[in-house]
Symmetry: C2
Subunit: 199 residues, 2 copies
């Protein structure tokens, strides 16, 4: 294969879930773009990388100093949803009616990868919780993923924040709405039983 095409394909494999065949397909498509289209494509990457940064307060993605959630005066400061990354904020914003604030940890505690609490935005979280507790109540909703690392982080945060006087909650785990019980995996089903509610 041509060297430039090979290099381009290799670069495209940096995109998540893209293998050799898809990368080549993408590379060919990029070659076939008109000059103006290719310029728009490249500028979009460059502009996004230049303009998008972390929110000063919650570390969500933003284009100014504060993200849209932090800048929104109508949202409640009393609820703080702690997530692993900005993707999780997007997912929450897309579906839920959550009207509190977020705090992006920028990762999870993972000793295997050398990530301890000090590598995450946990001290900033503690500051925010303290600040809020001075004003009134504070509920921290821990919405890290239900992986081993996510659970470890959730546990760490609970032990840290509860003694400070914050109410710490965790997202409910259970059978996805619309899913068949028969196909639920054991762990999920176990969690669903554990978290059962009186009706």
């Amino acid at each position: 294969m041509l060297l430039s095409l090979e290099i381009l394909s290799e670069q495209l494999r940096k995109l998540p879930g893209v293998g050799a065949k898809t990368a080549l397909k993408y590379a060919m498509a990029l070659l076939e773009l008109k000059d103006s289209e290719a310029e728009a494509f490249v500028s979009a990457i460059e502009n996004a990388r230049r303009n998008i940064r972390s929110c000063d307060r919650c570390f969500n993605l933003c284009e100014g100093t504060l993200c849209t959630v932090c800048a929104d005066q109508t949202r409640s400061d009393a609820q703080l949803c702690v997530v692993e990354d900005a993707r999780a904020v997007m997912a929450m914003e897309r579906v839920s009616g959550f009207k509190g604030r977020y705090h992006v940890l920028e990762g999870v505690i993972s000793p295997m990868d050398g990530v301890g609490p000090e590598q995450l935005r946990i001290s900033e979280l503690v500051d925010r919780v303290n600040e809020q507790l001075e004003k009134g109540e504070c509920e921290v909703i821990v919405a890290t993923n239900s992986t081993v690392e996510g659970e470890t982080t959730a546990m760490y945060l609970t032990k840290l924040l509860k003694p400070m006087g914050a109410k710490v909650t965790r997202l409910a785990y259970g059978i996805p709405v619309g899913a068949d019980l028969e196909y639920a995996d054991e762990v999920t089903l176990g969690r669903a039983i554990e978290g059962r509610r009186e009706i």
Copy 2:
């Protein structure tokens, strides 16, 4: 969503088969690249677009004036495989033991899309066939896809090149090797019966 992120996602949807969700996933991945990685990514696109052009002779992709196939002195000029695009050349080169030359039409005859024979590299093909016929035999293997447009183009080329004295052949269509007869579609099965060979 952030404006720059939205623009980037929209641009990523130019890649074949990429929908809104995948585009956003790719956009986030591009944001998370290190600066050096992002520069390599963008340069790869720019370099490939700058360096890769059409071969002067066969219109396959190349980085110089002639593509690797045309530059290869060991290949036979007596066989000319006519394909729709450079992807087809890549596919042929990947698998087959074909040792002739290629000719990329850069499309197929498609009156619906306003593409007639004059928009394709057909006059160049005629010149090459004529040139070869002066030297000796010339077999034109028509390897356009088996779509309506591909078949139309194949038929057009046959009518054009046969009277010139060239031998015109078409790739065999039939049951894919390893596939079950039961699952072959009617058209393929029909072609397989039509093209049966004595053993």
